[in-house]
Amino acid sequence: MKLNAKPNRADTAFHGAAIAAAALVLLILALVVFTMATRMGPVLDRMGLDFFGSRRWSPADRLFGALPFLWGTLYTAVIALVLAVPVSIGVALFVTQVASPRLRKPLVYVLDLLAVVPSVVFGLWGVLVLAQPIQSIYIKVHNAVDGIPVLQSIFGASLQGRSFMTAGIILAIMITPIITSLAREVIDTTPTPEKEGAYGLGATRWEMIRAVVWPHSKAGIVGAVMLGLGRAMGETIAVALVIGSSIGQITTNAFASGNSMPSVIANEWGEADDLHKSAMIGLALMLFVITIAVNLIATAVVQRSKR
């Protein structure tokens, strides 16, 4: 039997279908951006560039400034990363380097399970269980650092349990399994001969991790962290429930309540009029651009580390 050199009909069809599917994804993405950009028109007409720079968000005065929500989104995401990254890397190293294979399997299973818990569950737990009692801890921390520069501006006065910090904690719990699972995969790709070599030279486990695993996995872990960041910035319902929904808050006080871009959209969309909606579409577009940028960079970093 002779192999046909020319592509047959099935091949051509497959080729076409695959290209169409790929093009469709790009087309949808382009249409989403196009629709949002056009529907953002009214708020840009009204506010101009102040939309990106103003602190005021007052539907009654027809004033819409995105800055406080941008701040809330970034600040909660940073808090989440500060809390989640050390834990995630620790767990990933434990699972890959320390745990016995018998322990490893159930541990990985539980971590993956944590990743699929719907965010509203974390949000409700945050608002019903965490928010009230945690305020007393906030107050204690504030009293302890009062008078110390920098720290006192981060751990400021607490008026209620729902705050940037509470949102950051919930986000940290949500992104830990993602960062852990990606970091674990990256660390797993460390070539065994190199590890054995390090041990052979008399390295302890910690020295081996520092000398072999870490340089090998650094870039991949950075990528994993950025994917976690993307998830944290886009999270909506859980944040909306625990961030406190204060309007116009730009403060370094992590114990103050604020609002984030996705949270304000979820809260205010239903009763908004046209201009108000246009402003929220503007927020959505900003968030879209930021998360896409973060995810693209993350994917690139992860890919490069795999080579």
Partner: protein, 364 residues
């Protein structure tokens, strides 16, 4: 391995996009209660067979719509009605886009929105009135009286303590504690917020600076709860708290609420009857829209909100038209009796007559 990591990255990217695009409809979009079926005394509507009516809108009306639909479909088993809630804004938008057969809303269309209503001529049919309470949580104070100016100053954080002179002046003979006031308001855009602030705009003209809208630029040292239930929960669990909550939710949460000074200078407790009294003191426009806050009359509770359903007068589908007419008639007549049982106020007689006349314009 390589593939898997890249795929997870993609899934997360798509997940983020998906979450964004879903945000608009993720809120309170519960499926409508299935209509009760299988009644023995079913009678088919005069002009014809089966019809399914879909509606969305006011969450304020949802509890009323549920009991009204259940009772109506028991007697008219060939008609099925789905009420989706989702908020007044959604109700107006869906109706304007002809996604639904009728909509329910606590506010009228703005002029620029009215131009976008696609299905031709429509009528506002007043359905209900309801009281918005000013609920509070102070141990040992079971009766509290507040004037509009005092409420405005409290919610603007001009007054921060319960023993402030302005509150004391409204409450002669009552000992108020030296307690910090915690203000609770809605985190979600809301018709209740709109009506509550409209009351303050109209009744506390000199004190209230934050205007009226579905979302208010509240001071930062206030607390926000999601829905009437969320605000009620904050008030219930926080000593010194005060918040605006509609009457059914305030009662369900066991909150104490203030008597509010009305336009005649009397302090009136919120109730089904005092909200209905507000309906007698209002000026109704030709299209049956009206403002219900701060209405005239001695027995009127001043923070009263109205609610309408909107329907096209010439529905394209004849069977649907007949069903719509039947259901709207039911809502403004027999169903009115059910309103007080669930702490809404039925329409006063004058307004009810106008509502019945509006329903007569539906061609079915």
């Amino acid at each position: 391995m390589k593939l898997q990591a890249a795929r997870i990255a993609q899934v997360i990217t798509l997940g983020t996009l998906g979450a964004l695009s879903l945000v608009g409809c993720s809120k309170k979009d519960q499926p409508a209660t299935p209509a009760a079926t299988g009644s023995a005394q079913a009678t088919a509507p005069a002009t014809g067979g089966n019809a399914t009516l879909n509606a969305s809108g006011s969450t304020f009306q949802k509890a009323f719509q549920e009991v009204a639909i259940e009772s109506f479909t028991k007697a008219n088993s060939t008609i099925k009605i789905n009420y989706g809630g989702g908020g007044s804004g959604k109700g107006r938008q869906d109706f304007a886009d002809m996604v639904t057969d009728f909509g329910c809303t606590d506010g009228a269309y703005k002029d620029e929105e009215k131009a976008k209503v696609k299905g031709g001529e429509f009528v506002y049919v007043p359905i209900l009135l309801g009281a918005i309470t000013v609920s509070y949580n102070i141990d040992g104070v079971d009766k509290l009286q507040l004037s509009a100016d005092t409420i405005a100053k409290i919610f603007q954080r001009d007054i921060k303590k319960w023993n402030d002179a302005a509150i004391a002046a409204d409450n002669p003979g009552v000992t108020l504690p030296d307690l910090d006031i915690v203000v609770a308001h809605r985190s979600d855009g809301s018709g209740t917020t709109q009506q509550f602030t409209l009351f303050l705009t109209n009744a506390a003209t000199s004190s209230w600076k934050l205007k009226s809208a579905s979302t208010i630029e509240w001071p930062a040292d206030t607390q926000a709860g999601n829905g009437n239930g969320g605000v009620a929960q904050i008030v219930k669990s926080t000593k010194g708290a005060i918040g605006y909550v509609d009457l059914p939710d305030a009662k369900a949460s066991g909150l104490k609420y203030a008597s509010v000074k009305n336009a005649s200078g009397k302090f009136i407790e919120p109730s089904s009857a005092s909200a209905q009294a507000a309906g007698d003191g209002i000026e109704v426009q030709a299209d049956l829209t009206f403002v219900a806050v701060n209405a005239k009359g001695d027995a009127t509770y001043p923070i009263t909100m109205p609610s309408w359903c909107i329907v096209y007068t010439k529905p394209a589908d004849k069977a649907k038209g007949a069903a719509l007419k039947r259901y709207f008639n039911f809502m403004v007549t027999d169903a009115q009796k059910m309103a007080p049982e669930i702490d809404y106020a039925p329409l006063p007689k004058t307004l009810q007559d106008k509502a019945i006349a509006a329903v007569a314009k539906i061609e079915g």
